[in-house]
């Protein structure tokens, strides 16, 4: 047994820390979702993506030929954890490109696609910003239910239909799109294909959807006879579902180190707040109630940290994590909810103050976490869906639905 990171990894952590402190100058504190940012913040994000790429960090675990540097899973873990601790904007570039489009293209894309699409991602270019359109009004958790049609016509597909909840579509150059290419199937998982869509194509309408906190993260997409070259098909036609299962595994494995970084920082902020805040002539930090609540949150975070280490270690051994990623996602949601509710309890009446107000505490970070966590828990698969996966794949229980 050994729970230490190697010297190389510790050095990297140090470098990322220094970078964050010198580059960010208090710009953003705890990372939420980059795509929630306003225009001017997004511009800053993109500048940071470029710098992270120049440092060789942005896609460090990718092979050199694709603009990475063959970094180990452990190095990547440390980087992701640290970047999210500092809330470095631009470190995910709207998530999709770095998270799964690049890695998926390496596995089931063709050479031409790899050459065209991977370098801009690794370089942190605006042309490397992707969105992902799986969900539809009737295909959320049951995402094999998608109806958006792509009909082959010569060397083009003609797209018609609707996607929803597409994060970052208003920023993205490309869309990683799941469509139905064969409706006459007995099993709905069949007949789905993955397509690369140029977001500048005529016939696409993007409508913003504002969340209940007034923030624009996701969108509704409508396709009206959008033409896509057949060359943009990724992998095998009608086998998209199976490709996607692999893509989703990429999406979830870094959740624990990422959320851990963000949660750890939030907890530290709350602790600091308790030290400088007096109530009834006493420091909040001296109140046993507050102390115990925060201690419990710290224990939950420690467990999350271990789950993050474990999944990274397993991947370094060549294991493809399935239930672990689902467990971590569900557990993250739980941890975030507890942290956000405790944090707002501690801040008291000021927790209701608008995050941009001069009176908000901790720069609005805890209030923001509170408003966002229900959405984060639904994004990338709900609690129930994750637990269904664990029940089936780890516990070997019969399918519950």
């Amino acid at each position: 047994m050994d729970f230490k990171f190697a010297e190389k990894e510790e050095k990297l952590r140090d470098e990322v820390r220094k970078f964050a402190i010198s580059e960010m100058r208090g710009k953003q504190v705890v990372s939420g979702m980059e795509e929630e940012s306003r225009d001017e913040d997004w511009e800053f994000s993109m500048q940071m993506s470029k710098k992270l790429a120049q440092k060789g960090w942005l896609t460090m675990a990718w092979p050199r030929e694709y603009g990475g540097r063959d970094a180990s899973f452990f190095e990547q873990h440390v980087y992701i954890n640290e970047a999210s601790y500092w809330g470095i904007p631009g470190s995910t570039m709207g998530v999709s490109g770095i998270g799964w489009v690049g890695p998926s293209l390496m596995i089931f894309g063709n050479e031409e696609q790899r050459k065209k699409y991977i370098p801009p991602i690794a370089a942190g270019d605006p042309d490397g910003v992707w969105c992902t359109a799986y969900s539809e009004p009737n295909a959320g958790s049951d995402f094999a239910n998608i109806q958006t049609r792509a009909i082959k016509n010569g060397d083009e597909y003609i797209l018609n239909g609707q996607k929803i909840w597409t994060s970052c579509a208003h920023r993205a150059r490309w869309c990683w799109l799941a469509v139905r290419t064969d409706p006459a199937v007995t099993k709905k998982q069949h007949g789905i294909s993955l397509i690369i869509l140029d977001m500048k194509s005529p016939g696409i309408t993007i409508n913003p959807i504002v969340n209940y906190a007034g923030i624009h993260i996701f969108n509704e997409l409508f396709f009206d006879n959008v033409r896509v070259p057949v060359a943009n098909l990724v992998g095998t036609e009608n086998r998209g579902w199976y490709h996607l299962m692999q893509s989703l595994a990429f999406e979830r494995h870094s959740i624990a180190p990422q959320f851990y970084g963000m949660a750890q920082r939030s907890l530290e902020f709350i602790v600091d707040y308790c030290k400088v805040t007096q109530y009834n002539g006493k420091q909040l930090a001296a109140d046993p109630l507050v102390r115990h609540k925060l201690a419990e949150r710290a224990i939950e975070l420690d467990m999350l940290k271990m789950f993050g280490y474990e999944i990274t270690w397993k991947m370094s051994k060549g294991v493809i994590p399935i239930y672990e990623a689902a467990r971590n996602k569900a557990y993250c949601d739980y941890v975030m909810q507890r942290l956000a509710t405790t944090g707002t309890d501690v801040i008291g009446a000021y927790a209701q103050v608008d995050i941009r107000s001069k009176w908000s505490k901790i720069k609005g970070n805890i209030t923001r976490l509170y408003m966002m966590f229900p959405g984060l828990s639904v994004a990338a698969g709900t609690d129930e869906v994750q637990k269904n996966i664990v029940g089936q794949f780890k516990l070997g229980l019969p399918r519950s639905y």
Binding site: I209, N280, G281, G348, A349, Q352, Y370, G375, S400
Partner: protein, 377 residues
């Protein structure tokens, strides 16, 4: 034993539901959340016509002499529909202590305009800490031989920016923990020396920060007795807490109803999601929470309306309301999936108000402490 409302209360409930679902649509709520004033003067006028603002006032002051339970019925419906505006601050926080503690002259002067819907009131109690304990009050009122001069700050005063009058709780003697030496003053909101700023909140519910510099108040404008202000605050808090809890309880019922309906309607994996046990059990837990809260609120309100001591039941209801409102909203949103996370969906309107309700009139810890006292600890 009788869990039913009486006939009059049932009529009030039906009338309130009809009126609010027509006048106070969610689209209107959205508009008002963003509106500086934060309320609709026409709607308030209509509510006054219906006799709501003066519901619990004695008839001689333009009211209908109803009791706290009747007002609970109304507040539940207001919570269900989310009525934005100064009804609560005017009636629950200010009129209630006026009815109890004001002199006949003060009552004659101040109550009829409230009943008519012409006067808006705001309670200026909490300060920088936002907490509801006497030790947290520093704002002072010193007697100069002729007048009192108020100096200090008040935070989170609801709808003070549109108020005609404020009830300002001040220190009129040496600081003491048990709340002696506090006095409640009736102050014209537009008095010289008061500065007001709106605090932007997630609920957009018109909370203000007030600063007082040598604000002159006459002896005649004291509510209750000098140095006995905390008695007034305690009295109003108990009743206002029950009313706030009724509002929260109504909101929880609405969230429950919409979530239950959605679970029957939304199909995934070829089944209504309510068929999945994980969802069904969550809904059942929500129901237990919602029904339980409702009864705790009725019980506390009933006790108060009989004139009995209700310290502990009031705190039980508030501690519970804080927890249940948050839990029901979070689970409700999660059962809705992504659509629950949007501005267009009603459920977010309720979630945005959770924290405001929680910290209004005492957070969970404060009330748990009172329950601990109540069980003899």
């Amino acid at each position: 034993m009788d869990f039913d409302f009486n006939e009059q209360q049932n009529m009030l409930k039906t009338m309130a539901r009809d009126f609010l679902s027509k006048e106070c649509t969610k689209a209107r709520v959205h508009e008002l959340d963003k509106d500086e004033k934060g309320y609709d003067p026409d709607m308030l006028a209509k509510m006054a016509e219906l006799g709501w603002t003066g519901l619990i006032f004695p008839e001689q002051y333009g009211g209908t002499g109803a009791d706290l339970l009747d007002l609970v019925v109304l507040m539940e419906e207001m919570g269900r529909n989310i009525l934005p505006g100064p009804f609560f601050s005017t009636v629950a926080l200010c009129a209630i202590p006026i009815i109890k503690y004001a002199t006949p002259t003060q009552k004659a002067k101040y109550l009829p305009p409230i009943a008519n819907g012409q006067a808006i009131w705001s309670l200026a109690l909490t300060e920088r800490s936002g907490r509801f304990e006497p030790s947290e009050i520093h704002c002072s009122a010193n007697y100069d031989g002729k007048n009192y001069l108020i100096n200090g700050e008040k935070w989170f005063s609801q709808y003070a920016h549109v108020a005609d009058y404020l009830l300002v709780v001040c220190r009129t003697g040496e600081a003491k923990r048990n709340g002696d030496d506090l006095t409640v003053f009736i102050v014209k909101a537009k008095s010289r020396g008061i500065k007001m700023e709106l605090i932007p909140t997630i609920a957009g519910d018109g909370q203000c920060r007030l600063r007082f510099t040598n604000v002159k108040v006459s002896k005649r404008d004291i509510l209750g007795k000098v140095g006995k202000g905390w008695k007034v605050v305690d009295y109003l808090m108990q009743r206002a807490i029950v009313l706030k809890c009724a509002e929260v309880s109504g909101a929880c019922q609405a969230v429950m109803d919409m979530t239950q309906a959605y679970a029957k309607d939304r199909v995934q994996f070829d089944k209504p999601i309510g068929a999945f046990m994980a969802i069904q059990h969550k809904l059942v837990d929500m129901l237990t929470d919602v029904e339980g809260l409702q009864y705790l609120v009725y019980y506390a309100a009933w006790l108060l309306s009989t004139g009995a001591k209700a310290d502990m039941p009031v705190s039980v209801a508030k501690a519970r309301a804080n927890e249940v409102y948050q839990r029901v909203c979070i689970d409700g949103i999660k059962i809705h999936g992504a659509i629950g996370f949007t501005m267009d969906h009603d459920i977010g309107c309720y979630f945005r108000r959770v924290k405001a309700a929680e910290f209004m009139l005492g957070d969970t810890d404060l009330h748990l402490e009172k329950v601990a006292l109540g069980i003899g600890l």
